[in-house]
């Protein structure tokens, strides 16, 4: 036994969390229960990992789930990231609306989808995983019911998500139509050498559907509006953990099932990378609101993560996990400071360096990591995904292009840092700070640096 306990635990804890909401209305009780649930989840996934470490890859449900060492390591890391997110944001999540316990419950249900995406071995599980991942998100996006922006974000996200589900299913069906099986292994053996048009269309449709989920351009237009409209306490969860999980699903499918026909889809992915990097970075430069800038920067980061899909090798699969963790921690750090401010424009950050040096320092470390400055983990994350693409030995042009785009991204990240340290504010920024949260932010920033110094911890 062991391996899929994470899925079971996340589902049960989600239900438990809903009962906690029934029993107690106090937000303090609910917060503690939420943090405890995620802590238990980290423990259970760690137990899973140790079991898998001993027994090797495990198959469940007639080969529908295959829990390997990489997948279970990813599960541990992603639940640890979710735990850090909950620790920092639990206070803010309960302030979003009235149904506090349900928000935590929905996040736990999302974790079920995350674990399914990292371990599926059958296209049915892929489909169900993506749906479990998405449907709670539609609700979370609209959780601030009184706010019309939140409602709009929710509706927009829902319409886009439902549309992409249709495309995903069509892709799965066409693949099935040409292979006669939903299993990843069977698809991989069936697809060798030249393939006909039917599965090709299926693969393209799957790329489009995943492009929606990971917000790769040209399927990115919903991202900025949705991330902007969603309550700021929820946005980091959507922009980091869910996105990274979608990437793991993307990679598992394209490396596992379509690895033998790499030649047929690599051009599409390469174009996707270039367009995503270009649109993400250039649009981010022109944003006035930091929250929108972060939304576009998440599109740009998705462009880098697509390199791991593009490069078909072992390094790529390791580097996507590293990239995911480093991007998640850095984004959480920036959002944690952003949520404290009343004004989300760049001016809102003015003089933060003087008035609240601790918040400014942690935000700076995280922004540096997002920009990919050495010593922080963001640098190595970018370095590893690009190395993976280099090992593939193809098309050095897009790697050069990616490095250029990373240079552009430094401009808009540094604009925030400049606002914090070199511009003085006319108004006094008032932030209610508690020591617990400050300690957590420092720990988060230290983790970002430590992962940069010791990348072997995640890769090894």
């Amino acid at each position: 036994m062991g391996g899929m306990l994470g899925i079971v635990a996340a589902a049960i804890l989600g239900v438990v969390m809903m009962f906690v909401g029934l029993i107690s209305q106090k937000s303090s009780v609910i917060r503690i229960a939420g943090v405890a649930c995620f802590l238990i989840l980290v423990g259970v996934t760690a137990f899973d990992f140790s079991a898998i470490h001993e027994q090797g890859t495990q198959l469940y449900f007639n080969n529908m789930l295959s829990v390997g060492i990489k997948a279970s390591w990813f599960n541990v890391l992603i639940s640890a990231c979710a735990f850090i997110y909950i620790l920092i944001f639990n206070n803010h999540i309960t302030k979003v609306g009235k149904n506090d316990a349900e928000y935590f419950a929905l996040m736990l249900f999302i974790m079920v989808g995350v674990f399914m995406l990292s371990t599926y071995n059958h296209l049915l599980i892929l489909f169900i995983g993506i749906e479990i991942l998405s449907i709670p998100q539609y609700i979370l996006a609209g959780s601030d019911k009184e706010n019309i922006k939140s409602n709009e974000a929710s509706l927009k996200y829902f319409l886009m998500g439902a549309f992409s589900t249709g495309i995903l299913l069509m892709g799965i069906t066409l693949i099935y139509g040409s292979v006669g099986s939903f299993e990843i292994g069977n698809i991989a053996t069936a697809f060798q050498g030249e393939v006909t048009a039917l599965p090709m269309i299926g693969v393209i449709l799957l790329i489009i559907a995943f492009g929606f989920k990971v917000s790769a351009a040209p399927m990115h237009w919903w991202t900025a509006d949705v991330y902007d409209g969603t309550p700021t306490a929820i946005t980091p969860f959507m922009a980091t953990i869910v996105k990274v999980a979608a990437f793991i699903g993307f990679i598992n499918l394209f490396h596992g099932a379509f690895g033998n026909i790499h030649y047929s889809w690599k051009l599409t992915i390469a174009i996707l990378i270039c367009v995503t990097l270009f649109i993400g970075n250039i649009t981010a430069v022109f944003q006035q609101s930091v929250k929108r800038m972060l939304a576009y920067s998440s599109i740009a980061q998705a462009g880098f993560m697509l390199f791991a899909v593009f490069a078909l090798n072992d390094t790529a699969e390791k580097s996507i996990i590293y990239y995911g963790v480093s991007y998640t921690l850095a984004s959480i750090g920036v959002f944690a400071v952003l949520i404290k401010l009343k004004d989300y424009t760049y001016e809102g950050f003015n003089g933060l360096g003087k008035s609240h040096p601790l918040y400014a320092i942690t935000a700076t470390v995280c922004l540096l990591s997002l920009a990919g400055i050495p010593v922080t983990s963001g640098f190595f994350a970018k370095y590893f995904v690009l190395t993976a693409a280099m090992e593939q030995g193809l098309w050095l042009g897009i790697i050069v292009f990616a490095v250029l785009m990373a240079a552009i991204s430094i401009y808009y990240y540094f604009r925030v840092i400049r606002a914090m340290y070199f511009t003085s504010s006319t108004e006094e920024i008032t932030i209610e700070s508690n020591p617990m949260e400050q300690i957590l932010l420092v720990i988060n920033a230290v983790l970002v640096v430590l992962l940069g110094l010791f990348p072997q911890f995640i890769l090894g």
């Binding site: 489909f127 409602n151 829902f158 319409l159 589900t165």
Partner: protein
């Protein structure tokens, strides 16, 4: 096509359902082609998930309707400013 052309959120939802039904039909057709019942089971899952998705979607549309008294998605453009 309906998803891209229509402006009414409920009609868009119906168009998405049409897409899913097309997939269901195709799956059943492939299932008879291969003499394999996997795809028919898949169809049941799609139906269940589609029902869940529609219930969430209609709830969101009702929420929106209460705010702006309309289900026209052109209103969504307000977020951009």
């Amino acid at each position: 096509m309906g998803v891209l052309m229509r402006r009414n959120a409920i009609v868009i939802l119906m168009c998405v359902e049409l897409m899913l039904n097309a997939v269901n039909l195709l799956l059943v057709a492939f299932s008879t082609l291969y003499g394999d019942s996997d795809a028919q089971i898949f169809v049941f899952f799609i139906m269940v998930v589609a029902a869940a998705e529609v219930s969430i979607g209609l709830a969101i549309i009702v929420l929106m309707y209460r705010k702006v008294q309309s289900v026209d998605i052109n209103i969504l453009n307000r977020l951009k400013n």
